[in-house]
């Protein structure tokens, strides 16, 4: 039997709460708890003093402590926040194993020998962590990891050889303290058998335990006897991959800097290749003679090649040096080509101040060299590469965020259906509700909920108000409202709810996949599906429709979406009932422009109800401009969405065509009209 090594465990209590409170800037005197699935996962000491306990329901916890700050769990954030703690410990004692965020173990031998005693080592480590990261922690020393962790919870140093005696009086629940392993069943069984303490479990014969309880119990039995299954796994500190070069004399010419960068980039790639890594985020840092620190991070969708690294460093330096040159010499004319930029940067008039004295390349994010596999098809062609280089060059001039591509996401307004992604970032976004960062509600479920609201209000409104504005033609909104109403079922079926199946729908075994009737026409076209409404018609006629057009005119209960192996389309986009149908405005102001609507008498047009204008609009003035005559209008269509969020996007939309061939999408919100789209 091997003798267990001495292990020093360092435990920070309630780490999930500590990390979450750090991230959310919750002051430490406020009670806080991390709640997962409506149960308290961890709570701070203040909250505990108010009676909050682990496993409590959220409502009960809040009843006991009304000012409780409820935080979300995020394992990545926990791990990230723990990294400085580990770094602080590593400064004193190498060979740290992170058992989980909040708990580290290290071989006690080194620090105890160095600091002259377990007590001294523990004090030193606690002080170090508190000083560096202002995180409280406790230290325990014992034989073996399991006992050390238990000792750390109690802040004890168990003398060598005393570990079984230390463990014996503890309850068997201690086996179930690790959040990753669920041993509640075993612990419950042991308790029912009368084995209430670890000592009682340890007194059993190993063979009996193995034959009665199974493999996990054997492990627990070993733990209870104070035998450690394994020594701590030493963490290897991350390799220093950054490369640096001192430029003496300082470089103020782009070509000279690029020459230096070439050697540096090659060194970087040699280092990376030596570790089997490649770089996907590169930090370029430079220090000027004046002591100014310049730093910029480049993201790359695919690993950087040495040539790519040189290019980026060169462009970056070009931008920095050119900018400093320009700010000094106040050159009014714009820079044209890189050759000209070189000339300008190398003109003898400017001397030291903008010159770069030190250059440093830091691989901020690396991947295993073999991990990135290029696609079988769709490799980067020559034209794509050229375009990519041009865009990267613009990024060097203006910053990485300045070049964007657009991704279409869900939404109802033209502006919120577009998400801009900086060039080089991943274009695959998760389809989230815009503006809704938190909240466990699935987007599709939200859509369905809103659909009910939007559909019902839109459908009822025209009938109720048909006579109220004399002759203004209030059969309006039928199209949009119909869309919204008919697509309620569509969303439901996308969300997987067992929607009602239309009686005469397509034959069950049919391979033809039907799109829910609520899908807009363009979506249906894009996904190559036949509209459910058409499927109904043609199924009754028993004529297979080869190519269906979505009309969306009838309100039918759509068939639930069948998954077929035939169509290779991606998961269809949610339909977002209530969104405006095509065509969309060609100009979408980044900020809504204020507008004024007036009627024939010159008095402003207001909303008397969410779907009712006070008078037909006659003229419109955008942003204080000249009045333009209204030629046609439709709406207002009430928009109900995100009523649960503060500043929710409710309002009424109105389309107005003017006599000069421009139409406007107006939104009535907070008592006035805003232009949210210009059909230019």
């Amino acid at each position: 039997m091997s003798v267990s090594t001495r292990v020093l465990a360092l435990w920070s209590p309630d780490w999930p709460v500590t990390a979450a409170a750090l991230a959310a800037h919750v002051p430490s005197h406020r009670p806080a708890a991390v709640i997962v699935a409506n149960r308290v996962l961890a709570c701070s000491a203040v909250a505990r003093s108010h009676g909050v306990r682990r496993g409590l329901r959220r409502r009960e916890a809040q009843a006991r402590c009304p000012e409780l700050v409820v935080l979300d769990r995020d394992r990545d954030r926990d791990a990230r926040a723990f990294e400085p703690v580990v770094a602080a410990i590593e400064e004193l004692a190498p060979g740290v194993e992170i058992v989980r965020p909040g708990l580290v173990a290290l071989a006690a031998q080194g620090p105890v020998g160095w600091f002259g005693g377990e007590q001294a080592a523990a004090e030193k480590l606690v002080d170090q962590v508190a000083a560096r990261t202002s995180v409280e922690c406790q230290v325990g020393v014992a034989d073996g990891l399991f006992a050390a962790v238990l000792a750390a919870r109690r802040g004890l140093a168990v003398a060598p050889g005393d570990t079984p005696a230390f463990l014996a009086p503890l309850g068997v629940e201690e086996l179930d303290r690790e959040p990753d392993v669920d041993r509640s069943e075993l612990v419950g069984l042991l308790r029912r058998l009368g084995l209430r303490s670890l000592g009682a479990l340890a007194a059993l014969d190993p063979e009996d335990v193995a034959s009665r309880f199974g493999a996990d119990a054997v492990l627990c039995h070993r733990l209870a006897r104070g035998l450690d299954p394994r020594p701590p796994v030493r963490r290897r500190p991350s390799e220093e991959l950054a490369v640096e070069i001192e430029l003496d004399p300082p470089v103020d010419r782009v070509d000279a800097a690029a020459f230096a960068a070439r050697g540096l980039a090659e060194r970087l790639h040699r280092t990376l290749a030596g570790h089997g890594l490649s770089c996907t985020r590169l930090g370029v840092a430079a220090r000027t003679v004046e002591g100014e620190e310049l730093h910029r991070i480049w993201r790359c969708a695919e690993p950087l090649t040495p040539a790519g690294t040189v290019d980026r460093v060169r462009w970056q330096l070009d931008a920095w040096l050119t900018r400093s040159a320009r700010s000094r010499s106040r050159m009014a004319s714009a820079q044209l080509t890189s050759a000209e930029a070189d000339e300008r940067a190398s003109s003898p008039a400017e001397g030291g101040p903008g010159a770069v004295s030190r250059l440093r390349l830091v691989p901020e994010e690396t991947v295993t060299a073999g991990a990135l596999q290029l696609g079988l098809w769709g490799d980067v062609g020559e034209a794509d590469e050229r375009a990519g280089r041009a865009l990267v060059r613009v990024q060097a001039l203006l910053g990485p965020e300045s070049v964007v591509t657009a991704v279409l996401v869900g939404g109802r307004d033209p502006a919120e259906q577009v998400r801009l992604v900086p060039w080089g970032d991943d274009r695959k976004l998760e389809l989230a509700v815009p503006g809704e960062e938190s909240g466990p509600v699935a987007p599709s479920a939200v859509g369905a909920g809103e659909a009910g609201c939007a559909g019902s209000s839109g459908g009822v409104a025209p009938a109720g108000n048909a006579g109220s504005v004399g002759g203004a033609g209030l059969a309006r909104g039928a199209d949009l409202a119909g869309r919204a109403a008919s697509s309620v079922g569509g969303v439901g079926s996308v969300a997987g709810a067992p929607g009602a199946v239309a009686g005469g729908s397509a034959e069950p075994g049919s391979l033809r996949s039907a799109a829910p009737a609520g899908w807009p026409e363009d979506v249906v076209r894009r996904t190559g599906r036949v509209s459910a409404a058409d499927v109904d018609t043609h199924a009754n006629e028993s004529v297979p429709s080869t190519k269906g057009r979505s009309t969306n005119r009838r309100r039918r209960v759509p068939t639930p979406r069948r998954s077929t192996g035939r169509t290779a389309v991606r998961e269809p986009p949610p339909s977002w009932p209530g969104r405006l149908p095509a065509p969309s405005p060609a100009t979408v102001p980044p900020q809504p422009l204020p507008a004024e609507l007036v009627d024939v008498t010159g008095s402003p047009v207001r909303l008397t109800a969410p779907d009712l204008l006070s008078a037909p609009p006659h003229q419109v003035m955008v942003d204080g401009g000249r009045p333009r005559a209204v030629q046609g209008w439709a709406g207002p269509w009430p928009l109900h969405q995100r009523w649960w969020a503060p500043g929710g996007a409710e309002g009424s939309r109105l389309q107005v065509a003017m006599d000069d061939g421009v139409a406007l999408l107006l939104l009535a919100r907070s008592g006035r009209w805003w232009v949210t789209g210009i059909y230019d």
């Binding site: 714009a334 820079q335 044209l336 080509t337 034209a383 794509d384 050229r386 375009a387 990519g388 041009a390 865009l391 060059r393 613009v394 001039l397 203006l398 300045s402 070049v403 964007v404 591509t405 657009a406 991704v407 279409l408 033209p414 259906q417 577009v418 801009l420 060039w423 033609g473 209030l474 309006r476 199209d479 026409e521 363009d522 057009r549 149908p581 095509a582 065509p583 969309s584 405005p585 060609a586 100009t587 979408v588 102001p589 980044p590 204008l613 037909p616 030629q631 046609g632 209008w633 439709a634 709406g635 389309q655 065509a657 000069d660 061939g661 421009v662 139409a663 210009i678 059909y679 230019d680």
Partner: protein
Amino acid sequence: MGEAAVTGVAAGADPASRLELARGLLRRMEDRSAAVRPVATPEADGRVLPVAEPLARLLPAGGLRRGSAVALPAVPGATSLLLALLAEASAGGAWVGVVGRPELGLLAAAEAGVRLERLALVPHPGTDLMAVTVALLDGMDVVAVSGADRAGVRAADRQRLAARARQRGAVLLALGPWPGADVELHCVDAQWQGLGAGAGRLRSRRVRVQLKGRGAAPGGRTAGLLLPAPGGAVAGAAGSVTTGRSGVADVGRLGEDRPAVRAAAG
């Protein structure tokens, strides 16, 4: 030799065969000159970027000629026209850059047929508009510049940009005034359809697009279009392409059929 052959045949043959002969000679001459002198532009084969069919009938080269500069003065319909011009080329794999247009409706772009993954935007170039445009002309197939007058682009700068576009075989589309452009496209008589007094919704817009510049008749050419047609793309209207002030070219039946189909689809 070619001349002799033409005159030799010209004596007896009918005009059709003479024309055929002349065409064959011309083709041979073109082939030979192409073989002797390699074309400098990177994409010698795709000299013209395709545009949607109703616009192709209007444009002199049947598309956006690489190396040319096209101006779209800021009149109602210019943005839609820009998107319509970009759509076909983008769908065919061309890269498009748009400089200085933060308010571009990207949903409308997608509806018009522009591939958003090949559409790069530089919304706020600031004072670096020239440098950004030059950098994009190096790599993109089409670069649309907006707000050039605001950024203080002078005539010399415009010439330099046009030269760069010519050299790189890119198309420069200018939103706003751009003196010296090869082609200028102008929307007139824009009229939205589908909207009543409190009823309906915007469906399509009828416009007449006027073309002026090189390769067009002195009086310009005009085409009636649906811009956008129902669904967001561009379609020919029931109108026709007019050359000069009087002559009516035959755009004909296709143009008349399309809107009917579109209307049924929408």
